[in-house]
Symmetry: C2
Subunit: 543 residues, 2 copies
């Protein structure tokens, strides 16, 4: 039965507008139009100009036959057209599929095919893909961006230059908002270590709310100056193109990461915020002190994925970089959990504080929940820091699902939770801590060993630069941990010394039974490829 608060009080055009992060650029242009929006070398554009360019892009795409619900792919470094695509493509009603610039061409072709891309915006550096894609998909519109190098005419067949393409568009184009905030805004392929990549579909509502959560966690002020160290192709730069617009901030572009350049930009442009993988953070923490000269202001940084080593955390603190540790997956628009700091941690010693900061933490501000549940019964695990369960999310910062893969979508959303596939525990303070990927856990004599816990111990050794631990078959225990270690330049240490070091932190059954030295195989985004390490062990065993 309807009650009186429902009678005649329905949604109307005046009081219900779909949430979309596109609106953030509209307000930035309206209210702060003359303020800087994008900086890239000699290029400096304000919000009015940037908004105009995105309207041109949307208009040109529509004129080129792109329709609502079509896919537009982009293979671009962190340059202005990539930021523009985050607005112009959805303003055309289309879905933006950013592609990982470090992937091989056949993976990229798979994505273009699976995502049904109708257009591809591609930097002239990636001529091989441009060529192969143009040949393979005769209907594909190719738009080439000449940023650092001219287009190779032999390779860029059927391509129109991005700037010329914008000129065909109307700067006053009356784009229309999404019909529904549940409409797709972006498509991001997961870099699965096995099997075909899955197409993760984002909706406008989630992108909007995650962009705001970024502001809330960072207390990010208006007109913040954001440096693009994090690849924009990676979960839409964790939604920061939209966050920066919502703050009418400055996007400082960076075609290629280089620690010295980063410090120069921090000094010259007054960078206040950036995000980066642990590898980016340690490159900055370990840079020569003279590169930092003249930088007196505080810089806020977010790090996702594995927590940086305590030494890196301590160093960041020393140089005045304020580090926030976040956690998430492609399916949660990047980070949707944060290790929210507590004042009382300041009284801890460096190691203990780093331990606290290294956890995956609590739900992001506008996410409904993150917790650890028994993957079968979905009952919460106790807050004992010991009982393993699966980390699960619920809320508006979860994807729509996997494109054209209803089975995987159903499975991952089973029981009203998004199943991350990461194993973790809940600490007595309610913070979650990742223990491992389900498939990375080592089962030794019936006991679970977290590969991450062993890696944490390895990382505490001053000579260790990168470490990974995987299961190795063992006749007695079933599996035992095998450590792969990359040493710091010039460092020397033996396997026995490494194991002795680990004994300080780990129970005997968790100690690595073997230590292999040498460079570790990594994915294009810097993740260690454990499947490759397992293959090496397998090869040894069968030799």
């Amino acid at each position: 039965m309807k009650h009186m608060f429902e009678e005649g009080l329905q949604r109307r055009e005046a009081n219900y507008v779909p949430l979309t992060p596109i609106d953030f650029i509209v307000r930035a242009a309206e209210v702060y139009g003359a303020r800087p929006a994008v900086v890239h070398g000699a290029i400096r554009r304000n919000w009015r100009e940037t908004y105009e360019r995105t309207r041109r892009l949307a208009s040109a795409l529509r004129q080129a036959g792109i329709e609502r619900g079509d896919t537009v792919a982009a293979l671009l470094p962190n340059i202005p057209p990539m930021i523009e695509a985050h607005f112009g493509v959805p303003m055309a009603g289309a879905v933006l599929n950013t592609l990982n610039t470090r992937l091989d061409v056949s993976s990229l072709l798979f994505m273009l095919r699976h995502g049904g891309a109708k257009a591809l915006i591609v930097d002239t550096e990636y001529s091989e893909l441009a060529h192969r894609a143009a040949l393979e998909f005769p209907e594909l519109r190719v738009i080439s961006v000449a940023d650092a190098m001219p287009a190779d005419a032999d390779k860029f067949i059927r391509a129109i230059d991005y700037e010329a393409f914008l000129q065909t568009g109307d700067p006053e184009f009356a784009w229309s908002s999404p019909d529904d905030e549940w409409d797709a805004i972006a498509l991001n392929y997961t870099s699965g270590t096995t099997g075909d990549p899955k197409g993760v579909v984002y909706h406008h509502r989630g992108a909007y709310l995650n962009a705001l959560s970024n502001i809330l966690e960072w207390d990010m002020p208006k007109h913040a100056v954001y440096l693009w160290t994090l690849p924009l192709f990676h979960c839409n730069g964790w939604c920061f193109p939209w966050t920066v617009a919502a703050r009418a901030g400055v996007n400082v572009c960076l075609r290629k990461f280089d620690a010295k350049t980063v410090f120069e930009l921090i000094r010259r442009e007054g960078i206040t915020h950036y995000c980066g993988a642990p590898i980016v953070q340690s490159a900055l923490a370990n840079a020569p002190a003279e590169w930092r000269e003249g930088i007196a202001h505080r810089v806020s940084t977010m790090v996702a994925g594995a927590a940086p080593a305590p030494a890196v955390i301590a160093k960041m603190k020393e140089i005045g970089f304020d580090l926030t540790h976040v956690y998430g997956l492609t399916e949660t628009y990047g980070p949707a959990a944060v290790c929210a700091r507590q004042d009382e941690w300041e009284t801890l010693d460096d190691i203990a504080r780093a331990e606290m900061n290294a956890r995956q933490g609590v739900r992001y501000h506008l996410q409904a929940a993150v917790t650890v549940l028994d993957p079968d019964t979905l009952a919460p695990v106790p807050d004992d820091g010991e009982t393993l369960g699966e980390i699960m999310f619920r809320g508006n910062i979860c994807m729509k699902g996997y494109l054209k893969n209803e089975r995987a979508t159903e499975a991952t959303f089973r029981g009203g939770w998004f199943h991350t596939g990461d194993l973790g525990v809940r600490m007595p303070d309610g913070y979650i801590r990742i223990r491992d990927r389900s498939k990375d856990i080592i089962i030794s004599g019936g006991e679970n060993i977290s590969s991450i816990e062993v890696e944490d111990a390895l990382y505490r050794h001053p000579a260790v630069s990168v470490a990974a631990v995987v299961a190795m078959a063992d006749p007695k225990w079933g599996e035992v941990p095998c450590a792969f270690v990359e040493l710091k330049e010039g460092a020397q240490v033996s396997a026995d010394e490494i194991i002795a070091h680990c004994r300080q932190f780990l129970a005997g059954y968790k100690l690595p039974k073997a230590v292999r030295f040498g460079e570790l195989p990594k994915t294009s985004t810097g993740k260690i490829q454990k499947f490759e390490l397992r293959a090496r062990i397998k090869a040894e065993e069968t030799e």
Copy 2:
């Protein structure tokens, strides 16, 4: 036709959760449970305790027979139970109807009747209403809050003490979220100067988004310390109970405004933010310097309604109070526009800068639009600062509509816009400026005269404390402006001097033709009652 981004990608429990500001207290309790939430004299409660009390309240209300969609009224000063009601009532699925403590009993009885209140939470100070309401509505549950004074047993018949009522509730109560973010969360009666008050219904979605907009405009950091100078009954304290929870900040309560107490609290509690009507701001700006001693930190303040006089703005700046001018109506959850400051205004002189800051400005961050349209054709007026139109809003920060008044709802939302009834202009920089309420405009010899413009001129006279201008019948011009002026204590000035002063700023036809001195009639919220002034003129004319 469905496209591939719609197939199998529907909303699910895991990825779609209704937006509700209740969630802000849940996260504050989860993540910052031990941090201070509410301060009131000797009472200090943290977020965990406050959340527990709101769950008890929700549970007790359900046990007392309150059901989803029922109305719970509250007649309370700015004390902890009022903050708790903003969470506990909607957690019971009910709608919170806060009542203006300055209204007469018969208006309050009208609201209880029209809103169909099932329960009333009432401070023991308001024994008259408690008594009359209990007699008139035999089914009404009366919950009395003994804060500053004990309950008068003769008046508080059938009442249960609030603290005893909480004890009947379950601190672990499993409250449920709204079924839909469009569900009603609050009911606020407009203090119409004529006719019956209208019941403005707020939805969870709008309250959530306005609470976030407050953070965005103020760059309000986590754990901000907020002083309750603004009545919580006024547009739900402009949504700040929810904003403070979203920031895990501190609510410093204030039963009654008093400038000296405010400075003491700023000093002792480290207040960082407060909101207040112009009258509150000038009381603080004009306070003796010694009251401010020992306050070194910056304080951010928002002022709504009429802009403060330039002298007040300058004084606030001098004492280190950072003033933001906002604009809105009950129907837009309080402010939904802000006079966003621009860096270049800093180069202007005090008067010119105050003029810029006095405007109503631009849309609030998460509101879709505010503009000035021709009320008939809904065409935008030119950005010339001259052409009058009606100020209109669109977006999620607009009410559901008026309770049990579909005709008024339809009229106010006509053509896809919320019609404010305020007349204004658009300036060349896109900022809007209010000229008048439609009914306050003075039409003299066919020319429109903005009463606000004349009032602005009056306020510039150093002897003027409060001023109001209304139309007075005139045989030649139809109408002419008549000024009512309240002088500062000890000030003396003649009508001729006032008119001569105005001549510096106003065209001849806009000058007040008469000036009346004396105290002005005001509503309980400090608004000047122009209808009362018109009645006085009418009485003079018919004498």
